[in-house]
Every structure is written in structure tokens, then in C-alpha cells.
């Protein structure tokens, strides 16, 4: 062990009360930083997840007059050949059309959406959210939302007539195989969901789709990836939309949160640094006799300065570790005790190890940096003052 480190350790041990005081200051600072940081990140992720977790993040639409993508599978293959293929977690064609549910006494507007369920289930989670009956198995089977079922008094097994514009005179019949309840209000009320073939038949547009939907690894990269794909597929009759364009308000709210989170962390760092610098400055005065003795015995000024840098390092490391334990403990308590009636946490928090390590690193670094001020004073201290004054 280096001598400066050994002396630093002994100094801290000797003034135990003071050392514990600084460590508690750093501990509280780091725990607040981690708690608030993780909480805000959790809130943001939760918000983003609610907005786009079960929705298309990038949508390919046609620019043709008839509004269809003629051969969606070929288009998907082309997209998968671009450099962005690895970013895509699911991709599937969607055929959709407005439809009027024709009942004896009234007409009800709906939106009929046909999916390739294998892929689309990963995004929309229809299968997990069936509350009655089952997923459509055959062409012409559909599922409807709970709100629509209630409004129109429909149940599993019922057949309904739908009119597809612009051909309003010949209604077609579909059979309800199940009832779903999604997180999305409009879906529960007005979506009629089926296999893509069913919609292609209803609209008489076989082998086409209205759009291609995608989810990606990093939702916040949606704009970059969308324009990247657009460039790669230049010449195709398509336009590519992404969720960020349609959710600008949400994004600026998130930015505001991030900025306030950074502000809180900066203030925590400043107050912790000031605490360390001031207590160590007092410590230099308290230990000036020892420093004078060490200098009279020939310790180099640089080593005398290092003693306090090491003190900062030791205090910082202990404070960072304890602060992390406390901060993560607080988060754990928060997610365990602040729960919804169904037992899920009010804010589901995701433990971001990178962020925790960063907070620890910042705490240790600011402890060391603030220790350089007393360190410099210690280096400058002249032995003769101490020896002369006893």
C-alpha cells in the first residue's frame, strides 16, 4: 500500500465521527440521485411504453392513387435487405378499411383491420387480451372489443353484416370468434380485427396491404431509421412515417423531465462536493501538526497533498457504495409498496446499471476533485510553522 493511502486511512479512522459524517452526506446525495434518476427514467419508459409499446413505431404507406402496397411481402423483403434489418423487432403488413356494421335498428361505424397474426401478436398482444372466445381461426372470423360488444349487445358466435365503402349495397357477413380488451380505448370501441386475408377478401384487394407496420429495438431511433429506410428504398411508391412525428408533445414533455432530472443531479453533486471540500479543509487544519511532523521528517509536498486526495477517494467510494445500496433499496420499496390495486407497481422501474455506475463514478470523481483543494493546502503547509508553534 502506498504511504499516502495508509496515512489517509489512519487519519480517517482517527477522526471517525467526521469521516462518517462525510460518508453519510455522500450516501444521501448518491441515493437521492439514484432514486430520482431511476424513478424519472421509469416514468419516462412507462409513458413511452404506454404510447408506443403496443403500436406501430414505423409505418410504411403507399403513395399510389389507390392507396395500396401491391406486394407487401416483396416490400418487406426489400426492407429486410437494408442495413436496418437488425434494428427491426417485428414487421408485418396490415390491410384495413372503414366498415359500417349494419344492425336491424342502426348502423355503427367501425374500422376493420386485418393482420398477419404471427408477427402482429408480438406488437398488439391480441391473443393475450382475449376476454371471451378465441382468436379468429378461419377466414371471415373476427374479434371485436369489449366496448363495441357491450354497445351493440354482441356476443361470441354472433354473425354481423358489414358494409365496406364504396360498395354500400352488398353487405358481407363475418362471425365473431372472440372479444378482446386492449389498453387502447379506440380499439376496444371501434376496431374489428381479423386475419389479413379476411380484409383482403372484404375489400376485393387480394395480395395487397394498406400499410406495413414495424417495431424497432430502439424506439427513439425511429426517425433516423425511418428516413434511412426511405433513402434505401428510393423509387418505391411509398412514404415512411414514424411515431415521433405524431407525438411531439410527449417528446418535449420527456425532454423537460430529463432536464429537471439533470438539474437535481447537478445540485446534489455540488452540495456533496462542497460538503467534502469544507470538511476536508477543516481536517487539514486539524491535522496540521501531523503534516508538520511528516514534513519535518521529509515527506514530499506532493505526497502530503495526495493524503487528502486519497481521503476524498476513500470517502467517495464508501459513500457511493452505501448510497447505491440505499438508493436501490428506496426504489425497491417504492415498487413493492406503491402498487396499483392489481399489484403492479404504480411506476414500473427498470434498474439501469449504466446509470447507477455513472452516478457512483460521478460521486467518486467529485469527491476526489473537491479533495484537491485541501490537498493543495496540505502540500503548501510549511513544517516550521507547526514546529515553532508546538
Amino acid at each position: 500500500m502506498r504511504l499516502a493511502l495508509k496515512i489517509a486511512w489512519r487519519f480517517l479512522k482517527e477522526s471517525r465521527g467526521q469521516s462518517l459524517l462525510i460518508i453519510s452526506a455522500i450516501t444521501i446525495g448518491v441515493s437521492v440521485q439514484i432514486f430520482i434518476g431511476l424513478l424519472i427514467q421509469g416514468l419516462q419508459l412507462n409513458l413511452v411504453d404506454q404510447t408506443i409499446g403496443n403500436a406501430s413505431q414505423i409505418t410504411v404507406r403507399s403513395t399510389r392513387d389507390d392507396d395500396v402496397i401491391v406486394s407487401p411481402q416483396t416490400m418487406i423483403e426489400k426492407i429486410k435487405e437494408t442495413e436496418y434489418a437488425n434494428e427491426i423487432t417485428s414487421i408485418f403488413p396490415v390491410s384495413e378499411t372503414p366498415g359500417i356494421v349494419r344492425l336491424e335498428k342502426r348502423d355503427f361505424s367501425s374500422f376493420i383491420r386485418g393482420f398477419d397474426f404471427d408477427e402482429a401478436n408480438k406488437v398488439y398482444e391480441f391473443a393475450q387480451n382475449i376476454v371471451e372466445g378465441e382468436m379468429p381461426k378461419e377466414t371471415n372470423e373476427v374479434i371485436i372489443g369489449t366496448d363495441m360488444a357491450k354497445e351493440l349487445s354482441l356476443k361470441v358466435g354472433d354473425e354481423i353484416s358489414v358494409v365496406i365503402p364504396p360498395v354500400v349495397i352488398f353487405p358481407k357477413t363475418v362471425k365473431i370468434s372472440g372479444i378482446f380488451k386492449l389498453g387502447l380505448g379506440t380499439a376496444n370501441r371501434s376496431w374489428i380485427i381479423s386475419d389479413i386475408k379476411t380484409v383482403q377478401n372484404l375489400t376485393n384487394k387480394p395480395n395487397t396491404s394498406s400499410s406495413i407496420e414495424m417495431q424497432i429495438q430502439e424506439p427513439f431511433e425511429a426517425d433516423v431509421i425511418a428516413s434511412g429506410i426511405q433513402n434505401a428504398l428510393k423509387g418505391e411508391e411509398i412514404k415512411i412515417l414514424n411515431w415521433k412525428i405524431e407525438n411531439e408533445d410527449l417528446l418535449s414533455a420527456l425532454d423537460g423531465q430529463s432536464i429537471s432530472s439533470i438539474m437535481i443531479q447537478i445540485f446534489v453533486i455540488i452540495s456533496v462536493s462542497l460538503a467534502i471540500a469544507s470538511v476536508l479543509a477543516i481536517s487539514v487544519v486539524q491535522k496540521s501538526k501531523q503534516l508538520g511532523i511528516l514534513k519535518a521528517m521529509g515527506i514530499k509536498n506532493s505526497m502530503a497533498g495526495q493524503i487528502f486526495i486519497y481521503e476524498g477517494l476513500i470517502l467517495g467510494v464508501f459513500g457511493a457504495i452505501l448510497g447505491t445500496i440505499l438508493g436501490v433499496g428506496l426504489i425497491w420499496m417504492f415498487t413493492t409498496f406503491a402498487v396499483n390495486p392489481d399489484g403492479t407497481p404504480v411506476v414500473p422501474v427498470y434498474v439501469n446499471y449504466g446509470f447507477i455506475l455513472l452516478s457512483m463514478g460521478i460521486a467518486v470523481a467529485s469527491a476526489v476533485i473537491s479533495a484537491t483543494i485541501p490537498g493543495r493546502r496540505s502540500a503548501k503547509l510549511s513544517p516550521i510553522e507547526v514546529i515553532r508553534n508546538g
Binding site: 487519519f11 511528516l294 519535518a296 521528517m297 515527506i299
Partner: protein
């Protein structure tokens, strides 16, 4: 080998910038290698000032301090640290041990400044010195938990660990009773004979001064008397 270990040439010391106090006036002194010197004089005569300048703890206002042919007044901070560590052993009136360390660790401290892993030779030396100083039983006690006499003897062992050619002692027994004073001087004399270390010690104790090879008396920053003493006690 040159027999002069330390030489002062026209050393002046003036304290203060506004109110000036001259503590030393044009001092010329030479010390012989391996000699045992006592500096006496009334309080305020400049004894501590002289010792601090020799010990590279303070700078003279003018003049030269030459140790083993090297003028230490021309050295920078870093070189002075090395001189304080290797060339000079200092024993203070207030023993000045580090309370955070044991007696043994205090003894090793000057060596640790160069090397944290002392070879067996140094460990043996530390043990030998402590045994000689009668500190065997308190070796591993915190330095604050031993008696004043033991603390002073620890400080003596510490001043010797790096084998410096010169040991300076400023009223090293000022705080001790007469029995302990006798013991300490007896030990210093023995070390002086055994290691051929040059001792310069400030004292106001007549009996102690009598034990030295040479007695220098200061008065108002000047040499009043400088005699060789042939009476061995």
C-alpha cells in the same frame, strides 16, 4: 574523508518584514563528524532558530549552510525534503509522534517515505533501536498510549532509522523528569559512539552540557563562548 560534516558561513536570520527581529548575526560555525555538541544560552538567544536552519526547516536570511559539501540554502522544496529525510534526524522538545500510528510505525515512518516494504535489515534495525531505547514492550501500542519518556525515546529511534549523519535535538528533555533526562542523554551518547552520528543538541541543563565534546553558548544571536570539553562523564 573530510572531517567537517557541517559548516555555517555568515548565517543571518531576520524575522518579520514590518517589525524586524534579527535572531542570528553573521554566525560562522563548523562541526566535526561524529562529534557530540551542546548549544546553550538563555531563552531567546537564537538556539532554536539555529537548529531549524541547520535542519532545513527554515531558511537563513543570508549566509550558507553546507552539509557534506552541499549548500542546502540553494536547494528547492523537493531536494530539501530529501535532505530532511536522509541527511538529518530531528528530535523535538515536544516529541511529536503521529497519534494515528503505533510507536513502531512511527519509527519506520521516515523509511516508509522512500519504500513501503522495508527489507529485513531495516526491520531488524527498527527492532534493535527500540529494544535499546527500552521500548520492546510498548512497540505496538498507539503512540499516544505510552509515557512521555517512552514517547521521547520513540522519537529518538525514529530520528535514527534512516542512518542520518547528523541528528539535531532541540531541548529533547524539556518535558521529562530528571531520571528520564539522564536516561535519554545516556542513550544519545551511546548512539553517537556506536553509529558515529554527529549530534547537535540544544539544552539548558548544565549537567547535560557537561557530557558533550563541545559546548557553544549563544547570546543575542551571537557566539558568546565555544569550548571543547575533555571531561568524560
Amino acid at each position: 574523508m573530510d572531517n567537517t560534516v557541517l559548516q555555517l558561513e555568515k548565517v543571518n536570520k531576520i524575522y518579520g518584514t514590518v517589525v524586524k527581529t534579527q535572531a542570528l548575526f553573521d554566525l560562522d560555525l563548523e562541526f566535526e563528524r561524529g562529534s557530540f555538541n551542546a548549544i546553550i544560552g538563555q531563552s531567546g538567544s537564537g538556539k532554536s532558530t539555529l537548529l531549524n536552519i541547520i535542519g532545513a526547516l527554515d531558511n537563513p536570511t543570508s549566509g550558507k549552510v553546507v552539509i557534506d559539501g552541499i549548500d542546502i540554502t540553494k536547494k528547492n522544496q523537493k531536494e530539501l525534503s530529501t535532505i530532511r529525510n536522509k541527511t538529518i534526524g530531528f528530535i523535538f522538545q515536544f516529541h511529536y509522534l503521529l497519534p494515528e500510528f503505533t510507536a513502531y510505525e512511527n519509527v519506520l515512518m521516515p523509511y516508509w517515505m522512500n519504500n513501503m516494504n522495508p527489507p529485513n535489515e531495516i526491520i531488524d534495525k527498527a527492532n534493535y533501536l527500540m529494544e535499546k531505547m527500552g521500548l520492546k514492550d510498548v512497540k505496538d501500542k498507539p503512540s499516544t498510549n505510552i509515557s512521555g519518556g517512552q514517547q521521547q525515546r520513540t522519537a529518538i529511534a525514529r530520528s535514527l532509522i534512516n542512518n542520518p549523519p547528523i541528528v539535531l535535538a532541540d531541548e529533547p528533555t524539556g518535558n521529562l523528569d530528571s531520571e528520564n533526562t539522564q536516561t535519554v542523554y545516556y542513550l544519545l551518547r551511546e548512539i553517537n559512539k556506536e553509529f558515529k552520528t554527529t549530534f547537535i543538541l540544544v539544552t539548558h541543563d548544565q549537567r547535560v552540557a557537561q557530557m558533550a565534546d563541545r559546548i557553544i553558548e549563544l547570546k543575542d544571536g551571537k557566539i558568546k563562548m565555544d569550548v571543547n570539553n575533555f571531561i568524560e562523564v
